[in-house]
Amino acid sequence: MLQLILFNVFNGLIVGAFYALMALGLSLILNLSGVINFAHGGFLALGAYLAYSLMPFVGFWGALLLAPLATAALGLVVERLLIRPLYGRDPLYSLLLTFGLAYILEDAARFIWGAQSLPYPIPSWLTRPLSTQFFFLTGYRLFMVVLVALAVGALFFILSRTRLGMRIRAGTLDLETVSALGVNVRVLRNLNFGLGIYLAGLAGVLAAGMLGLQPTIGTSLIMPSFVAIIVGGLGSLPGTLLGGLLIGVASGLTTVFFPSASEAVIFAMMGLVLLVRPRGLLGEEGRLQ
């Protein structure tokens, strides 16, 4: 029993790392632009399918590199054309827009690549479990965790050490002042959106290797990311990371005792956090409440 629990904690961290990757992109966009990007799952699916179409030409590694960039490029265009006109209005406008966009992206994937799920080939040396004892730790899942760690490290580096990152952080705190200091807020928001969508595209390619391709892949993965943000605390990127890991572990542990609630438990957790500590575990008081 103890082993079962330990295994599930460990496994939950792997799954949680993946939730965190998606949630960080969402969180970035929400923090700076106040846009709740419901289309994040759609971009994720798009990243996955683009990788699938690119793979015959550039291989697995090429697709891993190019597909998220292509998705991010589309994200820049979407932000410029569709989302920018809605800044300054009630956030519900952009919410409805991204909500519709999520449907359009999902159906576009269905239209172009078909409703049928498709297998996504990964290099065979990655598919093997690394040990018979810890069979759930396959090469691919380890690779995924390493990549998530790298992406998160790079993101925090960008945010804390580069000029763009510092402006994003400053803008998150006080956009008006940043604008008054001569920073082009339009460009800042655009790049920030692209960065968030890049993370969605990367998550999509990784998810494709784990689950294969389905048009619904984004929709089914997006809800836990929203929960991760709320549990971790709005406005806090470390909080989002923590939230992702926590719900991964909680969902895994619930499977041991009461499997049919393995999905419901993350929402119960969200409810509990909202009741006891409404700003979330690491969220700042008063911020975005």
Partner: protein, 419 residues
């Protein structure tokens, strides 16, 4: 400069509201209208076109459309052209399925109702069709109760009941995989009755259950389920999940190397799921309800050719469900010489399907007492791909429908006809 003004913060409440809205989103999917004719006979299909069951849903639709074309080419129903009205029921929202069914019956005045892939939605639709007295064919919802305890005089089912699948699958599972079974079961009507039927069938053959877990519909990550199943040390993990859930569960099990330590198998398997799997995960003993490779069975090759021409792919069991369901409407009207639902339902009871519609080795027929279609079941194992890349299932044996159907008494159906 409006875009640089500070937006009202999207706060926690907005995020929460938005999260709630996701549920509401399922209420507005698209609908498709067929071309208008003059005084056509209308067949309404409320089936998943989006969500987990979108792929089987589209295949059932392709089968329906082929049947419609054939029926019209042969003079329609009672001399009138036939039209299909299609609504997206979603993959899991019974409320939407009911609302779409009401729309088809009350607004479009369809003469026949078809649907649903999701057993729970099929049951909900049957309530509506029964209340309205419309002849209702269930192409692909498997839970026993549709033609069992919850049967209705107006409801007929083309696909197998979960008991039929379990009876056909159990013996092979014991022989090929062993006696200690661990179930991973989708948490809704279909999964519950399929597992119950398998437990019953296994017990007769000396099989035991060493564990079972219910997975929520739409689960993407099965790793924690697999960790638990493996710890129980079974001979076989019996996967009862379907659609994308089947693909996710099997794929992860193979990635974990579980196929090298125990058997991965189950009851119902579908070509749609095997196509979505990488070749190394196309393994295990299963049953198919219909398969496109049936050497020597008349008319099957023509059907395969017609569907290939239409969709570019071979028909699946789903395509056949849609095809048979739609043709059943025409056969019922023809036999009753009327579109009166009661007369048609009476005429369908006991009706044998002609070979060009049945497309199976034995003669398919609707059982009079419970309205279940009794037809062959294909028992065998999944394969990576034979000479034909679409040949992903090796049929070891064809079970006769009547041998696996179970009795009407066991099913518990008592038809109540309108007075």
């Amino acid at each position: 400069m409006t875009d640089t003004t500070i937006p009202p913060a999207a706060g926690r409440r907005t995020v929460l509201r938005a999260a709630l809205a996701v549920g509401a989103a399922n209420l507005a999917p698209p609908f498709i209208l067929a071309a208008r004719g003059e005084q056509p006979v209308l067949i309404g299909l409320a089936n998943p076109l989006t969500g987990t069951y979108a792929a089987p849903g589209k295949n059932e639709l392709a089968g329906c459309e082929l049947a419609i074309a054939q029926i019209n080419a042969k003079g329609g129903i009672l001399g009138r052209p036939v039209e299909l009205r299609v609504e997206d029921s979603t993959s899991g929202d019974a409320g939407t399925a009911v609302q779409k069914s009401r729309k088809l019956i009350e607004r479009d005045h369809v003469d026949f109702l078809l649907g649903n892939i999701n057993s729970a939605l099929a049951l909900a639709m049957a309530q509506v069709s029964n209340e309205k007295g419309v002849l209702h064919i269930v192409p692909g919802g498997h839970t026993d109760t549709i033609t069992g305890a919850a049967c209705h005089w107006n409801v007929f089912r083309v696909c197998k009941s979960t008991t039929m699948e379990a009876n056909a699958a159990a013996q092979q599972l014991i022989e090929k995989a062993g006696k200690k079974w661990y179930y991973i079961t989708p948490d809704y009507a279909f999964g519950h009755t399929l597992q119950a039927a398998l437990e019953k069938a296994a017990a007769k053959l000396g099989g035991t259950k060493v564990g079972a877990d219910l997975s929520p519909l739409g689960t993407t990550d099965f790793s924690s389920f697999l960790i638990k199943a493996q710890a129980a040390n079974p001979d076989v993990i019996v996967f009862l999940t379907q659609g994308d859930d089947m693909v996710n569960a099997l794929k992860q099990a193979v990635q974990f190397g579980l196929d090298k330590r125990l058997h991965l198998a189950g009851a119902q398997q579908e070509l749609e799921s095997l196509e979505g799997l990488p070749p190394e995960a196309r393994i295990g003993a299963w049953v198919f309800e219909w398969y496109w490779k049936q050497p020597g069975v008349p008319h099957v090759a023509e059907f395969v050719e017609a569907i290939r021409k239409k969709t570019g792919k071979v028909p699946t069991a789903r395509t056949w469900f849609g095809f048979v369901s739609t043709w059943t409407c025409a056969l019922a009207a023809q036999a009753a010489k009327s579109l009166d639902a009661v007369k048609m339902a009476k005429a369908l009871g006991g009706m044998k399907l002609p070979p060009e519609i049945g497309l199976v080795p034995d003669t398919a027929f609707y059982r009079t007492e419970d309205h279940q279609l009794i037809a062959s079941v294909f028992v065998g194992n999944a394969q990576a791909g034979g000479a034909d890349p679409e040949d992903l299932f090796n049929v070891a044996r064809v079970a006769r429908g009547i041998d696996v159907a179970g009795s009407v008494e066991e099913g518990g159906c008592k038809l109540v006809w309108p007075s």
